[in-house]
Amino acid sequence: MEATGIGVWGVPLAIFAGAVRVSTPFIFVSLGEAITERSGRINLGLEGTLVFGAMTAYGVAVMTLSPWLGVLAAMAVGACLGLLHGFICKFPKVNDIAIGIAMMQFGLGLAFFLGKPFIQPAAPKLPAIAFGAWSNLPQIQAALNINVLFLIGAALALLLWWAFRNTRVGLILRVVGDSSDAARAMGLNPDTVRLLATAAGGALAAIGGAYLSLYYPGSWNEGISSGQGLMAVALVIFARWNPIGCFLAALLFGGAGALGPALQSVGVTKGYYLFYAAPYVLTLVIMVATSSPTRSLAGAPGALSITK
């Protein structure tokens, strides 16, 4: 504890800082998955998209020296992976959950294959804003050094929350998600809407990956993701497909994920591996608490296969 200089307050501060730092990929993946699931389809392949986005962003940033070009490139490939998922799921008898697992393995394999040359070189990092400059405690300065993508994610959550309710696009998405038949009666093509929603979801998930490789932990390697893409799917269910809920749940998950490293940093040396399981245990507990065997979940899109 003496190592921190501010005593036990180091733990909550580290958890807060970790929550902000760790949650950003969760925010983007869960917002992307919320768009996809609102359209009535589930994309379990976002884990692969996340890692592929991380690799692409890092590679492009190394080559162009611009981290923002890396983020844009990641969005483009993420959208492509989403389009592929959406295209395959259009065909009858194809199971969107199974395709998601396959897309996850495909995305991971391709990312590891193409990312091999980028394990060594260093890429320019995404900028952060120092909100903690007023303090002279280095811990507080570090904790309040907040990345721009986190702020964009927060704004995006608000924007999506508003757009789902108040815009024509939001209405189209919700109609398609609740009933394919109703959508067809309105003259909409559910497959096209879902295709675009899956592509949008893939693009957002890839931003989460770009954050991983370009900011925190800030390097590209094959172990860069530890299941964030999958946990985000569970998180969307917990958040009841509400973008603001996704944002808050992502913060909660980020905090749980920061528990292990935070304890380690204040000198707990034994048993911290168990705390690495905290986000997974939390996800599972939340899923158990919010699911029900007899009724469908409140707010669930009617056409979504995962809640049937």
């Binding site: 697992i101 269910i237 007899t294």
Partner: protein, 376 residues
């Protein structure tokens, strides 16, 4: 249509082809999955070749190396079979729940915990008990832990309505964290410096090779498990009930079938096979439980199960094929300078194409005797 569907099971009286017709119908129904799977593998390999050609390498050389590395010599065949052994069990771990309509992908968790349980229970027994007894106890411990782990996912599915795909995967991550905790902490052998492990099994307690081959007994265990699973699904009332529940849960419930017990039973059995795979990995390959248990057998098993369309007998050749592809990874890396992830790209491509080809089922008249003309 309905009339024809009913009449084709009756002895036909219409002409020369009459005696051949039941056989042709049987053949057509059996040929459909085989033909579509082979077509999918062909398309998958073609797409992968295109990818390799696009990055400026020779796909022909690559396939030659895969063949040489997987099946070219007696040595490489033995290597492939050794790698197929755990895949047989982890594929069952996916295939059995799939017959009930569940997508359980957390085999990796059962494997690592089964391995740790086997290693932990062996340590106090080593030296006192004869080796076969130790193996039996290790296997039972591994299977029990695996069964509890995945059975829990089945339990949550049925009694709490929790999606089993996500739950089983989360359980796999929890299992890996738990394994790391145990091998870094309470169970760590102080002598293992670089790679934290449990204390190693003495050489006399290692599960040896099949006589005449350099392949451990896990292969035999895996094949026996596949055959027993096939019998369970195809020839017992328990398996029949599971197939009904997999087809239509409501119908099964109305029939009074114990759907909850079926789901928990099948997921637990699947977990037991996963745990057994982990125990064999410890007793035959690693000698102790360490991070190498999480080598991805659980994830490759998913692909094996889907390629085999969840048929336990079909798992055997598919596991050998994928074991061979796995085994060739090192050769591809050395000879062509391609990353070891080449094998993952191939597997991922095959996986996506196989699932895509599900859409072709029932589309071809030649595989669907109900649509044949009666006097064909």
């Amino acid at each position: 249509m309905t009339l024809e569907a009913n009449s084709h099971t009756l002895p036909t009286l219409d002409g020369r082809a009459g005696s051949l017709r039941p056989f042709l119908e049987w053949l057509a129904r059996r040929a459909e999955p085989l033909a579509i799977t082979l077509f999918a593998i062909f398309v998958g390999l073609a797409l992968f070749s295109l990818f390799i050609a696009l990055i400026g390498r020779s796909p022909i050389q690559l396939f030659e190396l895969i063949f040489a590395g997987g099946f070219g010599t007696w040595f490489s065949v033995q290597n492939s079979l050794s790698r197929a052994a755990p895949l047989l069990l982890t594929a069952l771990c996916v295939a059995l729940p799939a017959r009930l309509g569940l997508v359980v992908i957390g085999a990796e968790g059962a494997v690592v915990l089964g391995g740790v349980a086997g290693a932990a229970i062996a340590l106090p027994l080593v030296g006192d008990a004869p080796a076969p007894l130790v193996w039996l106890i290790m296997a039972l411990a591994g299977m029990l832990v695996g069964a509890v782990w995945l059975g829990f996912a089945g339990f949550l599915r049925h009694y709490r309505g929790v999606n089993e795909t996500i739950a089983s995967l989360l359980l796999a991550y929890i299992a890996i964290a738990f394994m790391n905790h145990l091998i870094e902490g309470p169970l760590r052998d102080p002598a293992s410096l670089n790679k934290p492990s449990t204390a190693p099994l003495p050489p006399d307690y290692m599960l040896g090779s099949i006589p005449g081959m350099d392949v451990h007994w896990g292969l035999v265990v895996g094949v026996v498990a596949c055959i027993l699973s096939w019998v369970l699904i195809e020839a017992t009332s328990f398996g029949f009930a599971a197939r009904i529940a997999g087809g239509n849960v409501r119908a099964a419930q109305i029939q009074g079938l114990p759907v909850g017990r079926l789901i928990v039973g099948f997921t637990a059995l699947a977990g037991a096979f996963g745990g057994l795979a982990g125990m064999i990995e410890v007793a035959a390959v690693q000698g102790s439980a360490n991070a190498s248990l999480a080598a991805g057998y659980g994830y490759t098993g998913i692909l094996v199960a889907f390629l085999a369309r969840h048929n336990p007998l079909a798992i055997i050749p598919v596991a050998v094929l994928l074991g061979g592809i796995d085994a060739s990874g090192g050769l591809i890396q050395r000879r062509m300078g391609l990353p070891d992830a080449t094998v993952l790209v191939l597997q991922g491509t095959l996986f996506v194409v196989i699932l895509f080809c599900e859409t072709f089922y029932g589309r071809f008249k030649m595989f669907n005797p109900d649509l044949w003309k009666r006097s064909a």
